[in-house]
């Protein structure tokens, strides 16, 4: 391309345009960007105000109590986990016959592993389920389009039935006393209040996920129907290595007396 032609190209004309024109274009771009920022900020602020206006003062008081109880729960769980670790330290350092002590510690380790009181690792499956993104048709029940207690319960049941050896829901390890409990649209697992997306991790055989997806306990479950009918978001993944935390909670009996005690 000749020098004369380069000078006459549109790009060249723009580059050689008077500074006033370049400034105007620049100002327009910045102005547009700032307008978008302003719009997004205003929408977000308005949304926040709307949610606060929605709740009555009574609900705000109750909500504050719930937050306080959750904070207390976190503190109790941390203290419990710490105290359990101290117990284990005493157990491994106990005086007495070394042979007896060694055997007792092996038995304790095995008992903790069997009970879900030990962090574990292994291959397995990951399942995530979340609320449907479909708009709720007029006249339909909005509760159909969110993840419910029964959905989690069905998934966990099918995983156990497929050979899972350890399962967590959003980090909550399931043990012999674990329940999945609903309060309105909220879900509690063990003592923890959980929100979607619900991530269920399970350690088990290499083909755990295949077994789960083919298991009648899943195929005939309520959740399988609801995923299809209402579009609950559902994703699965096989994993070569998962690490699941130990159960944190009360393992002491108030009513049951173990045999031999």
């Amino acid at each position: 391309m000749s020098t004369r032609d380069a000078r006459s190209s549109p790009a060249a004309r723009l580059l050689s345009a008077r500074p006033r024109f370049r400034f105007a274009a620049w100002a327009l771009s910045i102005g547009l960007a700032l307008a978008v920022i302003g719009f997004a900020a205003a929408t977000q602020w308005k949304g926040s105000v709307a949610r606060q206006e929605y709740t009555s003062s009574a609900q705000q008081v109750l909500a504050a109590q719930v937050v306080g109880l959750e904070q207390e729960q976190k503190s109790l769980r941390d203290r419990l986990a710490n105290a359990d670790r101290q117990v284990q330290t005493f157990q491994s350092a106990s005086a007495g016959s070394q042979t007896t002590l060694a055997q007792l510690n092996r038995d304790l380790a095995a008992a903790r592993l069997a009970a879900g009181l030990t962090k574990v690792t292994g291959p397995g499956a990951v399942i995530e389920i979340a609320d449907s993104k479909r708009p709720v048709p007029a006249g339909d029940n909005p509760a159909n389009y969110i993840v419910l207690v029964d959905d989690l319960h069905d998934i966990v049941t099918a995983l156990w039935a497929s050979g899972a050896e350890a399962i967590t829901i959003n980090g909550e390890r399931l043990v012999s006393t674990s329940s999945i409990y609903g309060v309105g649209s909220s879900i509690l697992v063990n003592t923890a209040f959980l929100s979607p997306t619900f991530r269920i991790e399970a350690i088990g055989p290499q083909d755990l996920l295949d077994r789960f997806l083919a298991n009648p306990a899943y195929l005939s479950a309520r959740v399988a129907h609801r995923i299809d009918a209402f579009g609950l978001e559902f994703a699965t993944q096989q994993s070569g290595s998962l690490t699941l935390p130990a159960f944190v909670g009360n393992t002491r009996f108030r009513w049951a007396v173990p045999e031999g005690s």
Binding site: I30, V36, I37, A40, Q44, G47, R51, A58, Q59, V66, L69, Q73, R77, L80, F90, Q91, S94, T100, L104, N105, L108, A110, A111, A114, T118, K119, V120, G122, G124, I146, T157, W160, A161, E165, L174, V175, S176, T177, S178, S179, V183, G184, S185, S186, L188, T191, A217, R222, G249, N250, T251, R252, F253, R254, W255, A256, V257, P258, E259, G260
Partner: protein, 223 residues
């Protein structure tokens, strides 16, 4: 220099736009957060969380008592093996490896329940604070679930007939109230299943040990 400043400015503006848009999208997610629950749901949640926190406090108190026993044994020059043996018995009972006995509840079921109904009953008993549960002679452990076997219900490979009992050790009043509350599991099941479910409190409920090997084959302990 001028163009460098311009580039930085545009990057900053783009970042700010991105942050705000993400915030906006997130705020449109389902309002599971507490502030959007009804007053009734919040009250129920408070009651539930209070109960759970009470359990945790009780458990913490017991562990602290156990620590005191270990420290006392240490100061008195005694072996702490007995404390550890008791802990072993407790953990084994918790998992289901040893039998337990105590006050609780007995459900007598007669009729056509499906696996979902049985599993829902077990979940409700756990939620009501059952410390140990058995269906007939099958100890319910973490992984025990009811499935449809060949023509009949099964739990841990053991067939469960049309008539069976579910026994649970725990607070008898708490268990009974939870199961029989209006809109509770027994009320719901009576609407949908062709079965009778009779619940009664008992002073002595025996829960056997599991026959399953609870040691995992795949999951390994993380040191």
């Amino acid at each position: 220099m001028g163009s460098r400043i311009a580039q930085l400015s545009m990057s900053g503006v783009a970042l700010l736009i991105g942050l705000l848009l993400v915030g906006q999208l997130r705020s449109q997610a389902r309002p599971t957060e507490i502030s959007t629950l009804s007053a009734q749901d919040l009250s129920t949640l408070i009651e539930t969380l209070s109960d759970r926190n009470r359990e945790l406090r009780s458990g913490l108190s017991d562990v602290q008592e156990q620590l005191r026993e270990y420290r006392l044994a240490e100061t008195q020059g005694q072996s702490a093996l007995d404390v550890s043996r008791e802990d072993l018995r407790r953990i084994a009972a918790f998992s289901g490896q040893t039998a337990v006995i105590g006050q609780g509840l007995i459900l007598r079921v007669n009729g056509e329940l499906d696996p979902i109904a049985v599993n829902d009953l077990l979940n409700e008993l756990r939620n009501a604070g059952a410390e140990a549960i058995a269906v007939d002679q099958v100890r319910i452990t973490a992984g025990s679930v009811c499935v449809l076997g060949t023509g009949t219900l099964e739990i841990d490979g053991t067939q469960i007939g049309r008539s069976f009992s579910i026994r649970a050790v725990g607070d008898p009043d708490g268990l009974l109230t939870a199961l029989q509350r209006p809109g509770g599991i027994i009320t719901q099941l009576k609407l949908f299943v062709n079965a009778t479910i009779d619940a009664s409190q008992a002073q002595s409920v025996e829960i056997p040990a599991t026959r399953e090997d609870l040691q995992p084959r795949v999951a390994k302990a993380v040191p």
